[in-house]
Amino acid sequence: MSTTARRVLIGVAVAILGAFVALTFVLPRFQPHVFSGSVIQSNDKAPRVDLQASNGETVRIADFEGEVVVLYFGYTFCPDVCPTTLSKLSKAMDLLGEKAEDVQVIMVSVDPERDTPEALAEYVEYFHPDFMGITGELSAVDRVATLYGVYYEKEEGSAATGYLVNHTATVMVIDREGYLKLVLPFEGTAEQIAADIDYFLG
């Protein structure tokens, strides 16, 4: 084999190896993040929240500027959907590790008649010690739920559970600047939730 032919062959081999390395190791790093939920690009800050925590203090989204807020709507008598979502959110916090310190998960009660602030705090802290529960007058809850795209409706339950509350089971993610950025479906996994929150933590 002539020297020129050998050089060409080596050149081709190096090019193939280079392309392989680029495609396998380098390119995936530049892939855009694919969200598991639906992205919102509003120019306005997230809808106002004016509800009470268990210590009686009024909670507003603006209080958490600098943190990522994860908002969920549920109630303490909720038999299935809420425990599932709160468990997933708790696992997502674990997956985020130290970064979770910059995340505040808040559950808004859609059953303010039965969910006292104390019962609510006890309920959410069962899933994660840093989770927060907020509630208020039904009219205030209705406004917040409506503006976050959440429907809720009382439904007949059993004698043991009392009435149930049907409600939208999405999870809302608000970025560090206070903009509502993402709506996650109920079906998302803890890993997907953690990855999406991580994106906004930067």
């Binding site: 639906s38 739920a145 709506v183």
Partner: protein
């Protein structure tokens, strides 16, 4: 002029020409902005049954607002709705259903029976076009705060209101807001936007989905 100078100045020109040709051949992707989250609601429809924001999740919904004893302005707006309903076969939304919801802000007078009769007068297909209203406080949260469509009852019982059409996608996100005006055809504009939305939904997965996401971030809005 030396050959080098000609080559150096020629390359950018060639790139611009090739880019312009690619732009013309492939056409840029257009997307409707994701304006904000549409409100969640619990209303009562003309059938007497409830209509909720969860019932229409997954469907594209065009909302308008009014009341049955409203007269000309509502007739004009409903003509637009009828026009869109009649020409829906011009747009391709794939498997996604397009629905219409007319929200009445007069729950006192607009009972399900009234709404039913009103829909029948308009020749509305009840399966596709719902007429609904809700309890006044919830209605204010939904229409005024959520859809940002203002209304107010006058002393004589009639309403002054913002004649709006709102387009919401299957994820519950507002994608279009149209204020009724007579200069241009709202019907044509909304149908065009339904077509853009349909194309995005049909291409929501894989590489095409990524291209559409990029279009959102580079604000390729019509």
């Amino acid at each position: 002029m030396s050959r080098k100078v000609i080559i150096r100045s020629g390359i950018p020109i060639v790139i611009i020409i090739v880019a312009a040709m690619a732009f013309a051949v492939f056409e840029p992707i257009q997307v409707l902005p994701r304006i904000r989250l549409a409100p969640g609601y619990l209303m009562t429809a003309q059938s007497g049954e409830s209509l909720t924001s969860e019932d229409v999740r997954g469907d594209i919904v065009l909302y308008n607002f009014g009341y049955t004893s409203c007269g000309d302005i509502c007739d004009d707006m409903n003509q637009t709705m009828q026009g869109i309903q009649a020409r829906l076969d011009e747009v391709d939304t794939g498997d996604t259903t397009v629905r219409f919801v007319t929200v009445s802000f007069d729950p006192e007078s607009d009972t399900p029976e009234e709404l039913q009769a009103y829909g029948a007068r308009l020749g509305a297909d009840g399966e596709q076009w719902a007429f609904a209203t809700a309890e006044p406080d919830h209605l204010a949260n939904v229409v005024k705060a959520g859809f940002e469509a203002w209304y107010e009852q006058r002393d004589d019982g009639s309403f002054s209101f913002d004649p709006a059409f709102i387009l919401v996608d299957g994820w519950g996100v507002i994608r279009g807001e149209y204020r009724y005006q007579t200069r241009a055809s709202d019907t044509d504009k909304i149908l065009h936007h339904l077509d853009i939305l349909g194309e995005e939904i049909r291409n929501a997965h894989g590489a095409a989905g990524l291209a559409y996401e990029a279009a959102h971030f580079f604000l390729c809005y019509p």
